[in-house]
Symmetry: C2
Subunit: 413 residues, 2 copies
């Protein structure tokens, strides 16, 4: 079993935490001065580990092993949300760095190639998944020309300020990059609630985001009898109850759906709402179930409209994101490594959040593993994971990495 | 039967409409330059009608009859909402003016006294019901010192600009003012829906305004399983359903309740709401019923909290407004006049909206009559009433005014 250096791992994570520290959290928005500082630090650490390191033309930090043959790519992201936790994606990147170092230190594994990536702007400060999109060959020039952050800064200007204009962009190397592994914190409370230490990800869920707009009649809330009202807000509330009931018949235990926003118009206590909007998101690892939920919603809207009174209209808020299954063979490697390091203390589970892995999985086999988030907290300064879980996760990832590379190498020879 | 002059009535209403015209509506915010211009025009019309007219120290236009003895006070308001209808309160004021003129023109009624008022700032541009509050002797100096409009203008500055600082304030004259009548548009759709032409108001409803705040746990909408969520928004939706069911057991056909505003926090599609506020208003003409609804709501909140999970907290948004019963004898006069002018075409009904009458009714017998609002529309530029209904309402008010004054005069002699 490949032996990782827990102290070195934790020490690097703590050093990275100092860039943009907002104790106990971190603010490291993609391509900001402090983010670029941390990227140069990370590239130096990769170089120290014997990797050929660059910050590429979109901001991705990429450490390429000098070993030839099949390479396992390990990565995640070191940029954060405006109120970022210290681990989030940073943990997975430092796992990759530590595994590359540990592989080099052991005679039995020093021939194995691990490339390490910190993808640019995973969190969407300018354009979500910019680094991994560029890596898999999506045309990102238009995105770079048009994207801005919340302060109105153009992405192309941010890249220029960062000194990256014209720098080469790292690309997926077919033949070399045989698999991708992304370790990450769970960002939810499932592992903690079930007392498990490792999650082997089965799939990254697909997402639908829709709006249902109810159109009734705005009226005086004092002079309009209940019997002649066309209250869009009351219609919305009734519709949600129906929807919840209908979804209960369709969903699995992992399905989630959320009404995150409700707008009543005009939003005054003295006025019967004439318009009401509900914003709905649902996620599931099963594409057929997402489709069934979408169809059910459309059916509920049709039924609602056939009753007269208040009208309802369904609108798609953005392109559907389809679920992405993690590679079965890679899952098995992670499962075996988990069982070896923490017998009975791991579980298979979907990822409810989006990750760079869902893009890279379109091109090469990909897998993810999770460690528990304390209190299920994520995207918050107080996000944290127990040190023993951080170390355990890296050990599992390292063990699996060796097994994956040995299998890949054996298959080729 | 006292004969009113329909052409003169409609002509005055149309002239008043030209002040602040925003065709087909009117913008005449209390104490604005155009409102003051209309007030001076109104005072001139009152003088022409033989009344002693003033614009008083708070902006109320008051036309006092030169006849001695018991006087009937007829009034309403000529200020408007930011998107005002042309009739609203203006109609009742011009009814008063026309009735004063009609009384003076007939030998049998020329001894009867009608005073006419257009109360200042009924709509609450600075401070709702300012004119009628001042008239009944409420201490309004503090209000004048502290009230501002939406643009931040101080009420005291607006009064100064209007040239009213230091002007005398008209007061209720006990002994003289024996009754108050306020004609008004219905502002709802009940008369139209039932094909009636006149509403005799039984009471002005009381109002409660409350907020229920739900406190759960803000969480990632992708990574937090439904089973461990504490979704404040979902709790709010479920609570409204329970509340509606419970209220159905308590209410009468005239009771109204409205959830006019809902705020989910943080209001993002990707975040399970950690806090959710619902703003509730309910109105009823029966004080006991309002109390029962308030108690039921508190009970529902207690029950909800006993279930654990998401917490609920009830907050009162402002002082309760209790219902005000219209004087029974005055109602009878209006009913008799309605039956005479429009047999079978009138109905008794509560006023769901607030009116100056609810303040004046604390001191002298008061009554109100309604004419139909087309489409039930109010506080909107397109508010309107059929001309035949405008004229009919004035005829009913005039007939009732004579009967009321004859009875009052007979009682005294």
């Amino acid at each position: 079993m490949l032996k990782i250096n827990a102290d070195r791992l934790l020490n690097d994570l703590k050093q990275l935490r100092s860039f943009g520290a907002a104790s106990p959290g971190v603010v490291r928005l993609a391509l900001s001065p402090i983010d670029m500082e941390s990227r140069r630090w990370l590239a130096d650490r990769m170089s120290d580990a014997g990797l050929d390191a660059v910050v590429d033309g979109v901001g991705t930090v990429f450490g390429r092993s000098r070993k030839s043959g099949a390479a396992l790519l390990i990565g995640s992201h070191t940029d954060t949300q405006p109120t970022g936790g210290w681990l989030d994606g940073a943990m997975g990147v430092i796992y990759g760095l530590e595994i590359a170092r540990a592989l080099a230190e052991s005679k039995e594994t020093s021939h194995l190639a691990v490339d390490v990536a910190s993808w640019s702007d995973e969190e969407g400060t300018f354009a979500g998944f910019l680094g991994s999109r560029s890596f898999i060959g999506e045309p990102v020039n238009e995105t770079i020309a048009r994207a801005r952050n919340r302060e109105g800064q153009w992405l192309k200007d941010a890249l220029e300020t960062a000194g990256l204009t014209g720098a080469p962009r790292v690309r997926l190397e077919r033949g070399r990059h045989v698999a991708y592994m992304e370790p990450h914190i769970e960002q939810g409370g499932r592992l903690e609630a079930t007392g498990k230490s490792i999650g082997v990800v089965t799939a990254i869920v697909g997402i639908r985001e829709l709006r249902v707009r109810f159109t009734g009649q705005r009226n005086h809330a004092g002079t309009t009898p209940m019997s002649i009202r066309r209250d869009a807000g009351a219609a919305l509330v009734g519709f949600i109850a129906r929807m919840n009931e209908a979804f209960q018949q369709l969903v699995a235990s992992d399905t989630v759906w959320t009404v995150g926003r409700i707008d009543l118009d005009p939003g005054s206590l003295s006025v019967v709402p004439g318009q009401a909007d509900m914003y709905l998101q649902f996620r599931d690892a099963n594409a057929a179930r997402l489709l069934a939920m979408e169809q059910k919603l459309a059916e509920l809207v049709r039924d609602f409209n056939s009753e007269g009174g208040v009208g309802a209209a369904l609108a798609t808020l953005h392109e559907p994101e389809e679920p992405v299954t993690m590679d079965k063979a890679l899952q098995e490697h992670l499962a075996n490594a988990s069982e070896a390091a923490a017998p009975g203390q791991w579980v298979r589970m979907p990822s409810g959040a989006s990750h760079d892995a869902q893009l890279i999985a379109r091109h090469i086999p990909a897998c993810m593993l999770f460690v528990p988030s304390i209190g299920g907290v994520s995207h918050d300064f107080i996000e944290d994971t127990a040190e023993e879980h951080i170390v355990l996760g890296c050990q599992v990832a390292a063990t699996a990495a060796v097994a994956i590379l040995q299998e890949m190498t054996a298959r080729r020879s």
